[in-house]
Amino acid sequence: MSENYAPKSAVGRWFNDRLPLLNLIYGHLLPYPTPKNLNYWWTFGGILTFCLVTQIITGLVLAMHYVADADLAFASVEHIMRDVNYGWLLRYIHANGASLFFMAVYIHMARSLFYGSYKEPRELIWIIGVFIFLLMIATAFMGYVLPWGQMSFWGATVITNLFSAIPLVGESVTNWLWGGYAVGSPLLTRFFTLHYLMPFLIFALVILHVWALHVPGNNNPEGINVVQGSQDTVPFHPHYVVKDMFALVVFLVVFAGFVFFVPNLLGHTDNYIEANPLQTPEHIVPEWYFLPFYAILRSVPDKLGGVILMVSAIAILAFLPWLDTSKVRSAKYRPLYRQFVWLFFANVILLGYLGAQTADGLFLIIGRIATAYYFAHFIIILPLLGYIEKTKPLPKSLSEPVLSAEERQMKAAASGASA
């Protein structure tokens, strides 16, 4: 595909002969053969790329006005909101952009779970994705600390204290992270440094993610292998460029709705109170996108146990390609998995709801059951399903399921004649 590409202009040819960068871009963005039946759940890859670039650009300009010092940080954020030209807009885009980034990544992951995109031969794409998700979590958490409000401070305190659960060296590790004996200026400054660095690491991983994707090509809603360049594929441009652009515009409508009409809906009012190391807010909750994991942490009555379980909840995703023993990818052809995967999604949403409640009484009991089910899905249900599930017959091509019986007969006759 990319080998027989030649730039039209003389300058382009001169450049491309010396550094075939245009070849690379051309091959991956224009004629790249894509399954012809990708639905709108497949547009979130493009949306996520847009989110990452938006966060990097708005973050870069916010960093020009922000001061990473415990005495000045809160005031500098207020300065951005009140004094800096369009500072309010840039900050609201950045803050809501983080939320929408997670919304998109959860949909993207759910799509992968439903259509089995993590399975052979796409395991590495999925694993790189899990690492991107981990880096996103770290970046979002550190970013939330920077405004140095009450939620920033106490969120940082609770999360950095997770490391104190490590046996023997826990206290030294937390003091090392803090650069002191409590959360304070040294931590804020290093979080700012890392918050600035990590999006670029994510960007590098995204390049690997796409590179690995373009080796076997996209999965598709039928979950069957398609031959690249056959009748089952269409060029990425213009077909999917246009589809992705349309999805992005719809996504931007939602994005703009948050930024311009309810910019603080997803935040906490407590974070507009400057950090006070002597007073913990009544009710500490993380941002909505961490709530399911927070519920898992709190469901365990033991400190170390809770931390181990929360970390495992994310780490177990990396092993998913081998925990799922079924050879059939798409849930469309897996009648049992199709029900269990919806149950799993509902359970994660339930965990998210529980994460926002106080951890006692009935909520705690339901939280424990939901946590147990989360892990049971991966270590009991998925391995067993591969053996007991009777899957439906897979179509031979992407066209087959959508053709009428007559068309199918004609096609069979034609292929019989040619053979």
Binding site: T280, V300, P301, L304
Partner: protein
């Protein structure tokens, strides 16, 4: 060569590699250690407090090493309650006499041993401290009684300089 022989070149490879590894490790240490508490943080390691303004049943919170420290002048009822507890019932058994040098004065780091929130005073099921973050209950001696916190509230190093002054740290 039929057998694997150790040549002079093998020896040179291994020793060169070992020197390089040791050199890299010793160079890595400054990059790790720069994050540890620095000299200016360590310099603020002790605080002196005048206890005269505090009446029985009153607590104050002071800052020590960037952390809140609770100083409570306990009432007789609280002291009795703390002393009569059966140690076998405690998740982290410690006698009250080991926690308070002078039974009237309870001095402890006001940080929940679970995940570092500041507990609220004279609240919870045991009339001591209650952490609102994840629901840990402490008694009138700051000992964990119920909830996810693994240990009792920490007692910092402190000395009574005289009847009415203590030095923490």
């Amino acid at each position: 060569m039929s057998e694997k022989q150790v040549t002079r070149r093998n020896f040179l490879y291994v020793t060169t590699g070992a020197f390089a590894a040791a050199g890299a490790a010793s160079l890595a240490w400054p990059f790790v250690d720069q994050m540890n508490p620095d000299a200016s943080v360590k310099a603020l390691a002790s605080t002196e407090i005048d206890l005269r303004p505090i009446i029985p049943g009153q607590s104050i919170t002071v800052m020590w090493r960037g952390k809140p420290v609770f100083i409570r002048r306990r009432t007789q009822a609280e002291i009795d309650e703390a002393k009569t507890v059966n140690l076998a019932d405690l998740p982290h058994p410690e006698a009250d006499s080991d926690r308070a040098q002078n039974p009237e004065w309870l001095v402890m780091v006001g940080i929940c041993t679970h995940l570092g929130c500041v507990p609220l005073g004279q609240k919870g099921d045991y009339n001591g401290w209650f952490c609102p973050c994840h629901g840990s209950h402490y008694d009138t001696s700051g000992r964990i009684r119920k909830g996810p916190a693994p240990t009792n509230l920490e007692i910092p190093d402190y000395v009574f300089l005289n009847e009415t002054t203590i030095k923490i740290g």
